[in-house]
Symmetry: C2
Subunit: 120 residues, 2 copies
């Protein structure tokens, strides 16, 4: 019942800084390491490394424009990442519900047993 997860994709969106970067890129359409770093508590170099990770994971594409490197989100791959989040979430949610159901069932049988005992 374990959900198969693309570890590269998951670890890419697992980092909080990278999640904020994706947020920023989605909000503004595109951005550079420098522009992103202005809205983040880390340096341009750190952002550049993260952009490298996101690029290798296929979550962003880069377009050279003069001396700038403009990044934008790859919608399709991003959608895949969101789907993975959802998959793990729903799988765990389902498991939680099943456990709760079983627990309630056990509770009921115990109540029944206790009731039987009081009858004796």
């Amino acid at each position: 019942m374990t959900v198969a997860v693309d570890d590269d994709l998951w670890s890419a969106i697992g980092d909080p800084t990278r999640r904020r970067m994706l947020d920023l890129l989605l909000a503004d359409g595109e951005g550079t390491a420098t522009s992103l770093s202005e809205h983040l508590p880390v340096t341009r170099q750190a952002v550049a490394k993260h952009l490298g990770v996101l690029d290798r994971a296929g979550l962003v594409h880069v377009t050279p424009a003069g001396r700038e490197m403009r990044y934008r989100v790859d919608d399709a791959q991003f959608a895949r990442a969101v789907a993975q989040l959802a998959a793990v979430g729903t799988a765990w949610d389902a498991r939680l519900r099943r456990i709760k159901r079983i627990a309630e069932a056990i509770q009921r049988t115990q109540d029944q047993t206790n009731q039987d005992k009081t009858k004796e």
Copy 2:
């Protein structure tokens, strides 16, 4: 529109080994560092460290039983973690849909412009 995420909780479930550990604990109800390590590609000590992280995040509880330390998942906290996954997922999904809508709108206005031009 950024979703507020409990970073400790997220980073706890962000690690693939910890996710598999949670899976195992949920499947078996409870487990020890030794028993879990038998189903994982890492040593008991590594598992023990992860259990420490999960414990500090409130995702598991430990019960000493003789020389064993039995861990089980905290349903409530685990549900919170799942909820966070779902929250980020749905937020991003919504943003994707909005972008797609805007893109389509732009497409339509461009089509309209082109049509106008052909009319001239």
